[in-house]
Homo-oligomer: 377 residues x 2
Amino acid sequence: MAVRYEHIKTCKQSGARLGRVHTPHGVIETPAFMPVGTLATVKTMSPEELKAMDAHIILSNTYHLFLRPGHEIIRQAGGLHKFMNWDRPILTDSGGFQVFSLSDMRKITEEGVAFRSHLNGDKLFLSPEKAVEIQNALGSDIMMAFDECPPYPATHEYAKQSLERTTRWAERCLKAHENTQNQALFGIVQGGMYEDLRKQSAADLTSLDFPGYAIGGLSVGESKELMYEVLEYTTPVLPANKPRYLMGVGSPDALIEGSIRGVDMFDCVLPTRIARNGTCMTSEGRLVVRNARFAEDFGPLDPKCNCYTCTHYSRAYIRHLIKADETFGLRLTTYHNLHFLLELMRNVRQAIQDDRLLDFRDEFFEMYGMNENGRGF
Amino acid sequence: MAVRYEHIKTCKQSGARLGRVHTPHGVIETPAFMPVGTLATVKTMSPEELKAMDAHIILSNTYHLFLRPGHEIIRQAGGLHKFMNWDRPILTDSGGFQVFSLSDMRKITEEGVAFRSHLNGDKLFLSPEKAVEIQNALGSDIMMAFDECPPYPATHEYAKQSLERTTRWAERCLKAHENTQNQALFGIVQGGMYEDLRKQSAADLTSLDFPGYAIGGLSVGESKELMYEVLEYTTPVLPANKPRYLMGVGSPDALIEGSIRGVDMFDCVLPTRIARNGTCMTSEGRLVVRNARFAEDFGPLDPKCNCYTCTHYSRAYIRHLIKADETFGLRLTTYHNLHFLLELMRNVRQAIQDDRLLDFRDEFFEMYGMNENGRGF
């Protein structure tokens, strides 16, 4: 088995899980946040920097790597780890979400999805078998089954048909998977915002006995309350001895609330994307360092942070760099935001250990300023 | 005295000088190449990376920092070293060259130069006193006197008037300089491509007893042969006990030829600028890593290089990053090119030590492929 979930303890106050995911490239302490390295690089960062902030795993995107540079080149390079100089675990998505969100003129059939590249209009085709072939070439530690992510809102009928197709596709993925020894294939629970469908999807996939389960189709436009409600009836029907990954979620509040609801793994482009726009997550909430009021502020981005950025550079310097379109400014904000979320998850794990994750949540929300102006997150 | 030149030896074969420039922030081994950090950052690089490649000194631009973020902000930050987290020596230029090459609608009078910002059209004024005031605020170890850089070609009459004004301005710079204890002000020898004028400029400036001398107005469009000819009659008339800095020159051949002609310090944006375009300096000459032929080339940029980039990443990966506009690709090519020139200077210093710089030059030119297709440099 390529991946094994080790359960350490359950938080007595919140029910959150503390654990470890063992993979061929090392251990992921959970709950974990995974920085996103779409094109075989976490934008602006080096692998050494990701290690310095102690990222245990990164995520990379099958759709993007299929388009550029192409999975055959990465196969020839000896796989994605070697290609990008990252020897810790990698999770790859299936390309399903991107086909639906990025590509043009897509046509879905039982066989798969025909679409046009968002880069050059090339006609391409992804199927369960192709998505697995690509991920086998990439050599990721954790692969995702090819799924259909229904839009929000979707009717009960559409969501049901879609999840049933996703289950049939998941079965085909299992059959196509050629490297079960070193790569774990996760199934993706769909079912929209419908409790009966989420339970049906979870039961169907569980019967196929995947080494782990993702929860897909959330953070697609619904309210956070609704997302938490879906998690509340979905995670209890997933096997306790397998890791659970909530796809595409990475705001600080959702990381805590997801952990409370039994999620082990998260990923999101949020911290890296807003960093490149000069927006930083800090202990005082979001800070837009481009603002003129920071021009002569010689304090750190976040006075409570001990990251490389905050211990070496001032808001005034970072603002100057970002205003002047200097790459190093984006490196500094990206480093800080990723460190912020990884540190948050370290604190979440400690709070589970101490049986006080609900208290930690309240303290964090108070600090982050969510209640003050609603813009904290 | 803020800066002291220590002469170690003269190459018996070439006449090149091996030495050290002692500054308040440390020692520069010479001949030295100085990476350019125009806006208080060497584009894409961190200070730690510059130290890892053993850059002894960097250059920053007075004109650019005057415009953004403004020297008063850097003064408040505690100076440029602290602002940008660089504790080794910094040299700042005077802004003279940029006023003439970048700004709009400039008007030169004896008092100074009125011009419009190339960023927003603001009316600005630089004079010898203002250029020194800015550099005193920046706190650079080595400052440059405010000079006029005549265009190429320039008539003998224009070049003479211009150098005489530059000398008068240099005197005003000396008077305005408020921190002689910690900052050394260098004079800039001008005089176009005229031997009598270069000698006049050198004699006039030498009589003012600067702690070091720059050679300006070269690499402005003239042939390299002509530049070398100017150096041949200029460096011998400069004091042997002071450092000599050839401004704006950084191609590998010119670094070697300049060293042979008695130059101690060089700077140029060439290695960093071409890096951001995907062009690399290698032991086999220039390599355009964007080219399709490197798509499946899993070897390093330069098989003879031991830099971070070449020991961890392939041409295929770097090409992929640059084609996909990923910042990390620019970091990798920038690192390599700067390392290449710093390593070249280490080899130049060793060759001087071994009294064989002319042999080294021939070997390097043969290797770099200059003779083969003329595009080596």
